[in-house]
Structure formats: C-alpha cells, structure tokens
Symmetry: C2
Subunit: 204 residues, 2 copies
C-alpha cells in the first residue's frame, strides 16, 4: 500500500543552521574534504588510509575514518551484500561523509565502492574540489595473493557470491584525482604523496 | 527469500583503527559527547541547539548539529513517517552521532524522538556519561500555539496521521540529564544552563 502523501518526507522545511561549515572548518585551521579510497579488497585502502590519518594527526589536522567494517557493524548493519544493499551502503556512507565534511573534518573513507555511478553520486553531494577520489589500482592477482581476510579463497570456492573482482565487476575510475598501484609502492609512500597533493590543492 | 548466510554481514572482521577517539577529541581540547534534545514539535529543540552551538563555537569547541531536517533531506531521504520508518530514522541518527563522537566532536541532535526504547538504544551505543538527554517538556498547548511550521493545524485537520502529541504518543524521558519547559525559559537561558552543566560534568 503506498504511503499517504503526507507521510512522505515532503512535509519537511529547512531549519536554519546558525553555525556553518566554513566556521566549523575555520576553527580547525583546515578546509573540509572527503578522501575517497576505492579499489579491490586487499588493494591497500584501509592500510593507506590509516597511515595517512596518522600523518594528518601529527600535523594537528582533524580527521575521521569511515571504513566498511566500522560502518557495517553499526549504521549499515541492516544491509547485506546484494547489489542493491551495496549501493545503499555507499549512498549512506556518502551522506555521512557529507555531514562530517559539514562539521569541518577531513574525512577518509575506505570502501571497495565498485560502481562508477555510486562514486559519482557521492562526488555530487559535495562542493566542487572537496571530493578526492583515490584509486588503488593494485592488480587482482596481487590482491588475491595477499588475501588478508581470506575472502578471495572463500569466493573462489563459491562461498561468497557476487564478490568484486571474481564474479562481480569493479568499474575503475575514469579520472581519479590520484591513482596508486601498491604492488610497487609502500603505504607510507602513497600516504606521503597524498599529503603533498592536499598541500598543493591548499586543502591543508 | 532469506539471504544466503554468506551475503549477510557476518563476513566482516574488525579493522584496526590506528587513530582513536581519545586522540581525536584530545586534539580539540574537549571530550566527546552527544547532546540529545527530545520533545514535541515546536518545543524549542532546534532553537536551543542552535543557540548552544553558537555559544560553544565562541568557546572554540568543535561541534556538529544533526536535526530532523538536514538528515531527512540526505541520509534518511528514503524514510517516511510511519512508526517503523521513524524508529529507523532515529537508529541511523544514533549511529551517525556515535561515529561523530568517535571523531572527537560534541554532537547536538534535535529530533522529536518520541519513544523511550529508541532513545535508550542510542544511549547504549555510547560510553557511559557521554549521552546527555535534554528533555524539552514544553506543554502541548504551548507547542500548538506556536506551531512554527503549521504542522499542528494540518494534523488537527487529519492531514498528517500519527503526528506526535495528537494521534501518536510522546513517551517522556524518565530520568533525563536535563529538563526545560520553554514556556517560561528563553532559549538563551536554557543554552546557558546546559553550558554550565557540561562544565560541571567536565565535558568542556
């Protein structure tokens, strides 16, 4: 049964928010942005994000890290791994990243986020220049060799259907802001290059 | 059809997060907490929250404000106003508030959040002492007289079913940390008292 039209969220008027994002970021001496790591499982997203967050902290930057694991145990614990659920997972993460950028934070996210359209959706949520797409182009063979969580082995045995890179596609970014192949670049080196990029872009 | 067990999110292992909430809050010279405003529509939640956020900013505190309006246009735009959707709305807000508290912020939320159980659920998401429930006990007659968004008039005409206070219950907090009746207390006075409370509790 369709909802009564007045039960949909068209009855909502915007609340004037007295403290704005510029003020919140200004207090922290930085500009807001979202560093969106994307790539196959095992490509190095969380490792580099953790390493970069540590470097940013050393510089006194205000950050937050969202990753598939801490979000899936809380906000998105009602979602599974079907394609529809995975798209909704990324949509919610994008909205939360936007709210956190509004709070003046440098937001790091580490999700496979395999689909072009879902990443574009998040990009469009944010002001121009504040979505930094970081593509970890580590080849599947290398990711599968590492297999840090044993997921590729399970997927090859058919125990995880729709696993990205095995029987579900990964759509590579067409014009990411940054691109790394971690088979020949350490997490520390990648994090250092991202830091330089943020400084060049005057984000830090 | 139930999901294949391996498509549920039991395949998720915890990611070690290198930078912790204490470090993130420490950088800001404050402790994390969630100031949860609850009460009828028109009871003064957003007005006091905005006023308090302004005062906190003046003190150099790092804050963020979540309210029914900015969240419903983004993260929760897929949700309507049925009871199930309203409970899911508050669950997600609670999870986002937790992530933001993990980021070291003082989080202010302004939602009717009429049900005891949903508020208790959010309280349990947070470390002891970090959930501050602020009950706006402004009587229905006063809220309806103000009717800032014209919603009570619509509800009385039967145009909004399940409207809190009219044909849907508001379950008053049994032991809120703070309680105000804004029919005899200005937003500025309430915000000032909350600020004193935060200082007493050594949260700021």
């Amino acid at each position: 049964m369709p909802l009564h039209p007045l039960r949909r969220n068209t009855n909502v008027s915007w609340q004037r928010e007295e403290v704005g994002r510029t003020e919140r970021a200004g207090l922290k001496g930085q500009r807001s942005c979202v560093l969106w790591f994307t790539g196959l499982s095992g490509s190095g997203k969380s490792t580099i994000a953790n390493c970069l967050e540590r470097l940013l902290l050393t510089q006194g930057r205000h950050t937050v890290l969202l990753d598939g694991d801490n979000v899936r145990h809380g906000l998105n614990k009602d979602l599974g791994f079907t394609e529809a659920d995975r798209v909704e997972n990324i949509r919610r993460v994008g909205e939360v990243a936007r709210l956190m950028a509004d709070a003046g934070l440098i937001v790091l996210t580490a999700f496979i986020s395999p689909f072009l359209t879902e990443r574009e959706l998040v990009r469009r949520l944010l002001p121009a220049g504040e979505f930094i797409e970081i593509y970890l182009a580590t080849p599947l063979t290398e990711c599968e060799r590492r297999d840090p969580k044993g997921l590729y082995r399970k997927a090859r045995r058919g125990e995880i259907p729709d696993f990205t890179g095995i029987d579900s596609p990964y759509e590579a970014p067409e014009a990411p802001e940054l691109r790394f192949d971690t088979s020949d670049c350490s997490a520390e080196t990648c994090a250092g290059i991202i830091l330089e990029y943020l400084a060049e872009m005057k984000l830090i």
